[in-house]
Amino acid sequence: MPSLLACLLLLALTSPTLWLIRPHRFRLAGVSAALPPLAVTIWQITQLGPTAAGDFTAERYAWAPQVGLEIALRLDGLALFFGLIVTGIGAAVAFYTHYYFENEEEQGRFYGLLFLFMTAMLGLVWSDNLLTLFVFWEGTSITSYLLIAFKYQYPDAKEGGRRAFIVTGMGGLALLAGVLLLGMAAGDYSISGIIATPGLTDSPLYPAALILVLIGAFTKSAQFPFHFWLPGAMAAPTPASAYLHSATMVKAGVFLLARLHPALSGTSLWFWTLLITGGVTMLLGAVSALRYYDLKAVLAYATVSQLGILVMLLAFDSSLAYKAVIVGILGHALYKGPLFLIAGIVDHATGSRDLRRLAGLARAMPWVAVAAGLAALSMAGIPPTLGFLAKETLLDAWLHADNLNQGGAMLGLTASALTGALFVAIALMLMWDAFFRAQAPADEPAAVHHAPSLAFTAAPLILVLTGSAIPFMLGSLNKLLFTAPVSAIAGEPTEVKLALWHGFTPVLMISLTAIAAGTGLFFVRSAIRKVLRRLPAELNGVVIFNQINDAVYGLANWVTRHIQGATMSSQAAITFTAAVVALIAAFTRISPATRIVIDWSQSPLAPETIIALLLIMAAIVTVRVPSRLGAIISLGVVGVMVTLFFIFFSAPDLALTQLLIEVLTVVLLVLVFFRIKPDNLPDISTARQVRNLLVAGSVGIAGFMLVLLSSGIQMGDSISSYFLYNAIPLGHGANVVNVILVDFRGFDTLGEIVVLATAALGGFALLRAPRLTSLRRRFLARHPELDTDTDADKGEGRA
């Protein structure tokens, strides 16, 4: 039975359903929306046992087998672990959303996008094919874009969405390139296949593929220097921030690194890139979080920091680090997600998220305060929370880092402990400032004008309680939940024995020190903030992003101005030049066998020479004469000279036709230009004259060479003899040219007739065109209803 596909389809179909039924009118919409993800969660829970035993559900659906594109899904330990987070938190968020939007009509659209995202995210973590993964990856990027800019009336939302989409879109394209390279190196896009391919790191394509994949992962997971899009994404409605930009989507990069860890890790390129990027992101995020007053901004930077920790941990090749990653992801999802949801509740209740205006919320919203308190404890890493467990394993991983020398390990340990201390300070700040202190420092403190219902509070509360319960169930969860994903990252079966209490180990000492230090930092937070706020803006990625953005536009304007702004004669000159280049290239290919031989013995006859000279003179006059009429007449002379050539080469019918055309052209042009006063042609600058001379000269020479080149060569017999033989017997006409025109190649003639008829139609249309003469304008002023120009035209005309 296609269970995995059925789950994805269930979520995908929930999207249009909720979009269209206008859920803001239904009281039970929240519960109904939570049901599909809940069902998928429950199904996944039933799969925990088989997956832990190594019996993975897997499904493949062909899409385009020619290019290796398929929808391949495989529920191994890592996929199941992430899948549970996606649908579990998804159910809570779906429930919460209904209360967040209350009676707003936008609720339906939000649900629609949220479930599209959920489908893509679940598909991403379940993928067993890099191309499948990429498809879902892009799906999460685009739904994230639409969710960030959900309130698109506001410039902040639009701009935040655009930044996020461009950064993650760039990462997506890098990932695509990396995936294609990996596919080439491994000969397969299947993830389990790639993991099973030995020696992938020795492939010459490995460094490029790795860097491209890393760009993809780092942009998605908001790693330095791409982290700046995440705080900008906070313009999204809070359920989206909680779900996408804290619990799930931003972990996609981490997921990808964990996914490919068995195949790609183990090189110094992998180790150092991840270690340094993750480490810098970790510190930068934690420090920056203290700079802001906006609850969501603080949480966003803390998320950046947490993502840095995860990336940093994945640099290592030790089961301790993998454990730390898994516990960290779970812990973070179960405390940061609720904290965001709580921020949304606070915003809802007070109309503000500004820490300067908030105070004493615990009294008005006790249940919210309980949920927030439990989440903050986990964030601060206070025992016996999941956060504590995560921090323990993190520090433990550093203590046992055998890739590094003593100094490096100590540096990493210190940085991690410092980050832990900063987390303590942030958690304290959030709790104390918002919930417990008596007085807000701002002049207009925000009051609770609209206490949240219990249903609204339920989602974060449930998530936090789940998180709090997990440390006490480690006995069974170790085997059921943690072993399989850790083994998937390690690429080999790895036993996991997590425990809350290890005795008084060095790690516990560091942990306690960090808590103490964090408390200290909490008390000097204003001073820290003051220092941070004085840092130059250039350090902010947004500024650099905007500079690059402006540079692209500047370049575009420059290029366009120089290319499209050129005059038509310049553009025509380019076409001519291209032709000359093509001819020159062809001349370089002349071989001895096809060398051009000119037979000088047949010297040109005197009349032809005279005609040629006259022709050249007339051509010179045409371009030099200052008046239009003069130019037209001398152009006529050129035409007549060409006609004379036809006569000399015994083509009287051609000559006759040509003569007629020349005469008509001159007459028509004279009639047209006669009305244009003054008769003088505009001056052309010397530079342009020189250019024109060069182009015209080279076209002339090239044309001459072309004639020489092609005249000496005759491949096979020409078809013309057939026409000569068969004009009378088969075509029943003595004039071969006529028979060709009306019979042998009558189809061409039909086309030419249509061309002429169309030209006549065009002439007719132009004559009937509403000319903008003063007469017409006066007429239209009196009869505006007869104005047939559309408004668009007028706008264009002015432009």
Binding site: M184, A556, Q564, R589, F744, T790, G795
Partner: protein
């Protein structure tokens, strides 16, 4: 399945007959003849589509349908030929025209309709169909003239100063290219002694390099101009934003792709060796076309100008595919050409939908200037949805057709180790996304500034349906192409293999005539 070869005359004859009929009744009454013309156009285009589908079904089995016009044997008469590539293009062309018809009916002003928009549209289709089916170099030239003249008249229809300005650039630069094509035809006739493509292919193998290079060079410039490659695209952005949006929509999806089609037809047939020798040049031109095109789009202030530059940029991808047409990859011979064909079809559908959407926005707001519009997502959610899908299909976001096209082109480029051009195309893809974000955010998000149009077409529910329904059809086709990417790719592979199969082409045109000296047998 068997098909009478005379069917091949229909795609040219049908529009021509209907156009002539419509011109002869165009002076009837004030409105009645217009209504009749609209229906007649619909009938002609539907007939066209049916014929095209029949041809497609026939050629998909790997066969070619050949008609010797006037029963004059090849190479003396004119050969008309349909293979999968031409039948596919015919089909898509008919679909596009059929979709634009209701859009035109809903948005055109009476003045333009009475000046002959509908017959001209059919003449344009006749020219397009003629080029697609031609098996003769001069015949290609003739039908390019037909479509050039028809498009010029359509472009200047209405006669506003900006239209005349743009139209003049359009026609002069295109006539220059046609002149080069005529020169090539002359050289071919002089040196190869024939204009029949099959016979040209046969004799080209024996021709000296210099002749091959000169012919290929001239044809590349001539057809490349039509396809709007760098640096020959100037006519396009100078003119495409000037005519009525219905005309731009018709041109945007169709005309440049006819140029690309001729390149796809001519190069594998006549110059397979040059596809290898000239590959670096193809890549340089493809890269510059994509890059300059997309950068040009960034600098544009109005929707249609922006979309016009994107046409150029996307042609670059097709040229990239052409450059690899004969390359061997693990995906099989001819895969790159198949990918390029797929990309072209995708582009035709999506570009037309976008041009219609952009045109509708422009007509609705009374301006196409990005700074003067906004907030349409709330007012017209369906238009917004359709436009969004089309825009991000153009940017290559899965599961749209754009993703499939981009993916397969990239795969073959990577697989043949052409990393530079692959990198350029990925970079351009990012810029395309940025540019689509720009157009989307400006037109559909933000605040609604109020319309300046006297009769906004979307406010009338009947006209709105006539605008949105065809757009929906095109976008749905694009999505279907993406979802059924495997079968689409198979179809494109049949087309590519046929286009690359020179011997098959030569045999289909004239199995016995071309073997020995045809003159002796003919001069009975």
């Amino acid at each position: 399945m068997n098909l009478n070869p005379n069917f091949l005359a229909a795609p040219v004859a049908l529009p021509l007959i209907f156009a002539a009929l419509m011109l002869s009744i165009s002076r009837w009454g004030r409105y009645s003849s217009l209504r009749l013309q609209q229906w007649l156009t619909g009938i002609a285009l539907s007939g066209n589509l049916i014929v095209a589908l029949l041809l497609l079904a026939y050629t998909l089995t790997g066969k070619r349908l050949v008609l010797q016009m006037g029963a004059w044997p090849a190479p003396y008469g004119i050969t008309v030929l349909a293979d999968t590539l031409s039948a596919l293009m015919l089909t898509i062309g008919s679909i596009l025209a059929l979709c634009i018809l209701p859009f035109a009916v809903a948005t055109l002003d009476l003045h333009r309709e009475r000046l002959g928009f509908y017959p001209l549209m059919l003449i344009l289709m006749m020219g397009v169909n003629g080029v697609l089916l031609a098996g003769d170099l001069f015949n290609i030239y003739v039908f390019i003239e037909v479509l050039l003249m028809a498009s010029f008249v359509l472009m200047t229809l209405g006669g506003t100063p900006s239209q005349i300005n743009g139209g003049i650039r359009y026609v002069i630069l295109n006539l220059l290219a046609s002149m080069l094509l005529l020169t090539a035809a002359g050289v071919a006739y002089g040196s190869l002694g024939t204009l029949n493509l099959a016979q040209m292919a046969q004799r080209m193998d024996l021709a000296p390099d210099s002749i091959r290079w000169v012919l290929a060079g001239l044809m590349f410039i001539a057809f490349g101009s039509k396809a709007a490659i760098f640096p020959l695209f100037f006519w396009l952005p100078a003119s495409y934003h000037t005519p009525h949006p219905a005309v731009t929509a018709l041109f945007g999806g169709l005309l440049t792709k006819v140029g690309v089609y001729t390149l796809f037809r001519i190069f594998p047939l006549l110059y397979p060796t040059l596809l290898v020798t000239w590959r670096p040049m193809f890549f340089v031109i493809a890269g510059l076309t994509m890059t300059i095109g997309v950068l040009g789009a960034f600098a544009q202030p109005t929707i249609r100008r922006l979309l016009s530059f994107h046409i150029i940029s996307q042609v670059g991808y097709m040229i990239m595919g052409l450059g690899l047409a004969t390359a061997d990859s693990r995906f099989g011979a001819g895969f790159a050409l198949a990918a390029a064909i797929l990309f072209m079809v995708h582009n035709m559908l999506v570009k037309t939908a976008l041009m219609m959407g952009g045109g509708a926005v422009e007509l609705e707001m009374g301006s196409g200037n990005l700074s003067a519009i906004g907030g349409l997502a709330r007012r017209y959610p369906w238009l917004a949805t359709i436009f969004f899908i089309a825009a991000f299909s153009l940017a290559g976001i899965p599961p749209s057709s754009g993703f499939g096209g981009k993916l397969s082109l990239l795969q073959v480029t990577f697989d043949t180790h052409h990393f530079t051009i692959a990198g350029v195309s990925i970079f351009v893809s990012l810029l395309t996304t940025m540019s689509m974000i720009r157009i989307w955010q400006y037109s559909f998000w933000g605040k609604y500034p109020g319309s300046r149009a006297t009769a906004p077409p979307l406010e009338n529910s009947r006209r709105r349906r006539m605008i949105l329904a065809p757009m929906t059809v095109l976008v749905a086709l694009s999505l279907l192409m993406g979802i059924f990417f495997g079968p689409s790719l198979r179809l494109a592979s049949v087309a590519a293999r046929q286009a690359l199969d020179r011997d098959g082409y030569i045999q289909a045109v004239a199995p016995q005539k071309l073997v020995a000296q045809p003159e002796q047998t003919a001069a009975r």
